[in-house]
Amino acid sequence: MHTKSVAQLAKGLRERQFSSAELTRAYLDRITTLDTQYNSFITVNEAAALEAAEAADRSLAVGNANALTGIPIAHKDIFCTEGVRTSCGSRMLENFIPPYDATVIERFKAAGAVLLGKTNMDEFAMGSSNESSFYGPARNPWNTDLVPGGSSGGSAAAVAGLLAPAATGTDTGGSIRQPAAFCGITGLKPTYGRVSRLGIVAFASSLDQAGPMAHSAEDCALLLNIMAGHDPLDSTSSTVATQDYCATLDDSLEGLRIGLPAEYFGEGLDVTTGECINNALKELEAQGATLVELSLPHSALTIPTYYIIAPAEASTNLSRFDGVRYGYRCENPADLHDLYSRTRQEGFGEEVKRRILVGTYALSAGYYDAYYKKAQQIRRLIKQDFMDCFEQVDIIAGPTAPGPAFALGAKSNDPISMYLEDVYTLAVNLAGLPGMSLPAGFVEGKPVGLQLIGRHFDEARLLNVAHRFQQATDWHLSTPDSAKGGSL
């Protein structure tokens, strides 16, 4: 069962080939057996998952099933889940049991999906390797000496290791796409505002967006159909109409114009990774697409712009963790000031504290114009580059990351080199565009991700291109050796 896609599993459940309880049990058993290798889950929701599976089986029995009824889904530990601990990868929320569900979780529950567990992540989603998690790093199923990427590293590792058929992630600067690339799965970051942010622990509110992570574009489309839509409780949620993201998956690519930014193929890109991307582009060309060379001239500024805007927004968002209303509180505070400052010293990890301090500095009196306002102005220039390109092309393609997964510890002591991992993904968040990563080959056994970037709200087109690519290739069907053990 665990080698089937979400679409196949949904069909199997409807045809009563197996029950949701059997399916859920199978994944729980695999987690018990195999997750000691990956550390991809922070919390496994065993009892409640089996209960939800039985409820799903009752719905299936009376023919009252939705697309995802009875399908186990793993959720990044950043989504608030009522009654299930939501740690956000931090000591600060080690004992935090939310009194409500994120809108995304509510939507999955309403669709009959089973909440399998909560996946590992970089602390407060700040990282590109999953190494900043308070709960220890998750590991890459393709080689457990390698990082799975981050921040949604646990979700990517769980799907790649066949411990869940699909998962959710969030992406503030590449946190769905880069781990998807590193772990050889398919991940989509939707347009800013497409998926509700309510109940997602906030990192950088003008950049954060949740999306699906699965083996195929088809499975991502099934999940996006559940996740996308207006939420009146999220003031930045879009009112633009959603569509059936499965309906156009098979559309022809004849006449599709694909833009290739020179800046995404230049210095810094691993040579073999570049070859994988070029081969993938040839496949799309063979299906009738035209490749157009173009330029995103402000690309070199995306890292510095992002590392002002994201920390600035994080410093305000994370001010809510004060040791008073929920979460960690230090022992024996001398006074209120000591309570705040020691709770935050002890509750946050190094990278989180560093970003809060940089953000506080960028927003402080005397520096606001030079840093934050300046970064917001350049953010507009970065977005305008994309708008200009989309006059000439329908989508933009390139590598998701400059190279494949790196070894644990290789960059964890050098924040700046870690930041460079996101050089091809950050601009998409700054511009609010949809972006996805799909498997496009291997470098010495390590997966390579092809990134596709679309116009605002053009998720259906990205999924269509990715699906057509996956009909002609089998990179997304490869399974790491480490996942081949276990039950079933």
């Binding site: 930045t236 590392y307 008073v324 505070p333 006074d335 560093r354």
Partner: protein, 95 residues
């Protein structure tokens, strides 16, 4: 640009994050590295460019001023570190 250790102490105070004497030198060095990396923004001409706060240039929606959600104080306070009689407890603020 480099940042002085005293300035880091000041922003740590603003951010309510205690930094020990042993750590302050290292933290200052790391923040200096980040600030040097972002310094290249200063060379860009941004005259007459409107700052962008929302990637879709969306503005805040307003809703009718009506009560839509019920009080859940008990559920919210059940997860607090210390409460009494419906109040959050903190160390004594006024002597």
């Amino acid at each position: 640009m480099a940042i002085e250790q005293g300035e880091v102490e000041k922003i740590a105070e603003l951010a309510r994050i205690r930094i020990s004497k042993e750590e302050i030198g290292d933290v200052t060095q790391r923040i200096t590295e980040v600030l040097q990396m972002v310094d290249q923004l200063q060379a860009v001409d941004t005259r007459d460019i409107e700052p962008m706060a929302n990637p879709l240039d969306a503005t805040q929606r307003l809703r009718p001023d009506e009560v839509t959600q019920s009080n859940r104080r008990d559920a919210f306070q059940a997860i607090a570190p210390a409460v009494e009689n419906g109040l959050y407890l903190v160390p004594k603020v006024i002597e």
